[in-house]
Symmetry: C2
Subunit: 205 residues, 2 copies
């Protein structure tokens, strides 16, 4: 069935812990099956809160407690140590997301490295990335000048690129983080990585 070698599309929000977890594994998973990964920054605030009319996970009765338990269990299993707690105040993710689209436009091919650096800074190191200057501090990690990135994050072009990307993600049915398309099939959640692995191994079903 799936005889193509289409890249895997990986959608994430930088403020999503599950998106971060998936970001640590998707490249190796894809590579095992000879696939590339196309990274896409999206905004849960637009998909979950505005479009679906839902509350943030941790503010949802019952589910909030579950997510804390589930995340702790995931971190034990994968031996992750994060400076940031899920219950810490959540950043405004738009500067980091605009940074992503600025990198993609001006340093194409570097956007995955940028996303990994941003995820690492926010979740493992616990740094705040809510302000453009904090995001621009990631620039050296991908060999870019900080002043250029700062100007880029503030640019109308980056704002338009993010807006277009979020609209495109919604049009494609993306709502959560992480969210994947593999051979046209949508997969939602970091707990679907094993299923994606099976899908790629089997050539779909």
């Amino acid at each position: 069935m799936a005889t193509t070698r289409e890249p895997i599309d990986f959608y994430f929000d930088f403020l999503s812990s599950y998106g971060y977890f998936a970001s640590l594994r998707i490249e190796a998973l894809a590579a095992r099956h000879g696939r590339a990964v196309r990274w896409h920054s999206m905004l849960l605030g637009v998909s979950v809160m505005k479009t679906m009319g839902l509350k943030p996970l941790l503010d949802t009765p019952l589910k909030g407690d579950y997510v804390l338990r589930d995340t702790a269990r995931y971190m034990r299993r994968h031996r992750l140590q994060l400076a940031r707690k899920l219950t810490d105040p959540v950043m405004d993710p738009r500067a980091a997301a605009r940074g992503f689209y600025w990198v993609r436009r001006h340093h194409p091919g570097q956007e995955a490295a940028y996303a990994q650096a941003a995820f690492d800074a926010y979740w493992r190191e616990g740094r705040d990335l809510g302000a453009p200057a904090q995001v621009a501090a990631l620039a050296p990690a991908i060999g870019v000048a900080g002043a250029q990135m700062l100007a880029g994050i503030e640019s109308d072009q980056a704002r338009a690129d993010l807006r277009d990307a979020v609209a495109a993600s919604l049009a494609r049915g993306v709502f959560g983080s992480p969210f994947f398309f593999v051979d046209g099939e949508p997969f939602w959640g970091s707990d679907r990585l094993e299923q994606i692995d099976d899908w790629l191994a089997a050539g779909g079903w």
Copy 2:
């Protein structure tokens, strides 16, 4: 860590397709690890709609479409053929749930067989179980007289038992279907069965 042989608690709503899917696999999974399964009928209308304030899955923008795709994919993989479609009108699940607690009280040990018969009738055969008489028609499958079960489903005791069971499930943090507790750890979703398998094999983590 998990050196006990505690039964696995399995919570489900009869109107939940994912709950049905899990019901087909949980006993064999548990048995491979020497565990029993305690079945618990719950009501998504109370947990998801009243307590969490959410809409039914299929009525949630974006997620509704995803669930249809995801379910179709699951059914292809597990070679399931159902007479009922997810988009068919949803039954009132309370009669079937009261039937479960009546069986548990009066024919203890038979409630899993009853639940399997009810799931099979509703999902695979596409029969409606919204009315007590339709539920009572399942009685012969577990060797019980239909008239007795019908009276039981209508009894105050069954109503009280269901009410108490739903309250207990909420107090324990159960919100979705399927939902499991394994060694005190909560697992939500049919896509977590593989993780539960790993947990039991590893003795937890």
